[in-house]
Amino acid sequence: MQFFLEVLLGGLLTGIMYSMVALGFVLIYKASGVFNFAQGAMVFFAALTAVGLHDLGLSLWLAIPLTMLVMIVLAMAIEKIVLRPLVNQPEITLFMVTIGLTFFIEGLAQAIWGASVRKLEMGIDDVPLEYLLDTLGIAISQFDLVAAGIAFVLVAGLAMFFSKTKVGRALRAVADDHQAALSIGIPLQQIWVIVWGVAGFVALVAGLLWGARNGVQFALTFVALKALPVLILGGFTSVPGAIVGGLIIGASEKIAEVYLGPYVGGGIEGWFPYVLALLFLLARPEGLFGEKIIRRI
């Protein structure tokens, strides 16, 4: 029982880490209907820029805002050069263009900062909480708890932003139809810069947390793969869905690996979340919290 609890809690906390990355996807999909394949590359780029600046001698508290500035500039450039000419193009073209963007950002990051692996110290020790270890015998990392707290604040903030502010409502209009939104006077260009900027911010936070966990290196782009099942489970358009999806995926993949894995040779974490998400989708084709798809002839 105690071990099960440990697996479950570990899974839930890991799930939150996945949610952080999934959030970036949701933001952009929600506000522009673009499936932003480059989110993983943005996570990498943001974390590498922050650590790179830090390694140059800046303090981390200066490096992070500076990186945010870089991400905003990046968002503006993407809007101006990439998205603006492609207004109202089919989804798949926009998807493809973000793949081109992925290559570009990955190349850019490595051209500026080199290919070496860097260390990031956030000042929070990644060790099990002694209190829990002594009383319950459960190892829960305090770093994971802090990360979960940050994720919670982020999601609450974003959910408010989307539902309560004028910009948030405009975002939702843009997501439904680019041209219609333009015609009723929503400043599409500005909206896009804002969304990509916010997605850049989320990427930075996710990149810092993941980077502190595993080191800042190219493999950060792979965390996007972990975010995809979260995304389909929670729905592409729902911010709370990303969190709930992350929790479900995280917990179930750990439980499956620990209790099912040994019987089939292990290593099932790679595909299990996708199969799980798939099963969910068969019941609800738009994800748990996605907007109901109404189709007419």
Binding site: T93, M96, V97, G100, F104
Partner: protein, 358 residues
């Protein structure tokens, strides 16, 4: 003036039904085939065969397979490499376990295996659409590769899980030189491409396109979505499976399951989108773009460094290559969002009018 169809009348049903109804197209395709079958084998170097043309053709076939599914039937899939893996490992096992089986039969059977797997993993498409479907096809990708890694029987219990493809021998002739392999791949690919071209304008192809354009409407007017979608998955996976078998047998020789990675699935999807969704020609153009461009950039940068003495620190040139590659993808999509095949359409239009544009 060069591409005028005026004056070409179709007087019989046979003429009306031919694959290339326009004379210029017929001449063009004959010329290309002549070039590919006669001129290139006589003139190209082994490097061109084994490092450029063979992968180009194999990836074209895989892109063609995906294009049938994505471009014609409208089902986005990210599991292409997994179907290729099924093809490669199935043909290895057919050749290994059935003594004396003809190579082409083994390839066809492996295609059928891939098709069967495709049908199973195509079932969710009956309920799931768009990017949700795309992300769930990732389940296929990871699950199949995992199975091939875990189940020793597929790799004949090789300790490291790699398979070594047997030789391609047809009627006692061993296809072992690059040129021979090229001709083998070219024959398979051209026959399958022609079949695909024919299929997409048949009843089957039209039903796919009806489902793609609006599945509910198609259902209302009497297309059975289940049959149509699953058929698309089966045919597409068959093409990918054969491409996978060729990839193992005519290109790499020794393959590991991890070689058929998600990255490869993505690459094939890029080919389809860059080349042109719903276009047979586009599959070839896209494959050329994605297979050749990185090589070309590499050669170009190398040329800059050695001949023009542009000194770049080591590592930078690789990164810049990646950036240029990404930028070119973006550029092409902005210039022509419907893919390279569309450029050819526009070109045809221009040729038709030239030199009198009005």
């Amino acid at each position: 003036m060069f591409y005028r169809e005026a004056g070409q009348f179709k007087a019989t049903y046979a003429e009306d039904n031919q694959i290339f109804p326009i004379r210029q197209d017929r001449i063009g395709i004959t010329l290309i085939l002549l070039l590919a079958f006669l001129v290139i084998p006589l003139s190209a170097s082994p490097y061109i065969f084994s490092a450029i043309l063979i992968p180009f053709l194999i990836f074209s076939l895989a892109a063609l397979g995906l294009n049938i599914l994505t471009g014609y039937a409208g089902q986005l899939s990210l599991g292409t490499a997994a179907f290729m893996a099924v093809g490669a490992f199935a043909s290895y096992n057919f050749m290994l376990r059935l003594e004396g089986i003809p190579v082409l039969l083994a390839f066809a059977l492996s295609g059928c295996c891939a098709a069967a797997v495709g049908i199973v993993f195509g079932l969710p498409s009956l309920r799931i659409r768009g990017f949700y479907l795309a992300a769930s096809t990732l389940a296929t990708q990871f699950f199949i590769v995992w199975c091939l890694t875990k189940i020793g029987w597929f790799t004949n219990y090789s300790s490291s899980g790699v398979i070594t493809a047997q030789q391609i021998v047809i009627f006692g002739y061993a296809f072992d030189t690059p040129a021979a392999k090229y001709l083998f791949v070219l024959s398979v690919v051209s026959i399958m491409a022609l079949l695909a071209k024919n299929m997409v304008r048949s009843n089957t192809g039209r039903s796919w396109m009806a489902i793609r354009d609006m599945d509910m409407a198609a259902e209302v007017i009497g297309f059975r979505p289940m049959r149509t979608k699953l058929l698309a998955f089966a045919v597409s996976s068959f093409y990918c499976g054969v491409a996978g078998a060729l990839y193992a047998y005519a290109y790499l020789g020794t393959v590991e399951p991890e070689g058929f990675s998600l990255e490869m699935s993505f690459r094939i999807l890029f080919m389809v989108i860059i080349g042109g969704i719903g276009s047979i020609l586009g599959s070839f153009l896209g494959s050329a773009f994605i297979v050749l461009l990185p090589t070309l950039l590499n050669v170009l940068f190398h040329f800059l460094e050695t001949e023009l003495h542009v000194e770049l620190p080591s590592g930078i040139s690789s990164s810049v290559e990646l950036m240029v590659f990404g930028a070119l993808i973006i550029f092409f999509l902005i210039v022509e969002p419907h893919g390279l095949a569309r450029l050819w359409q526009i070109g045809k239009e221009k040729l038709r009018l030239w030199p009198f544009p009005h």
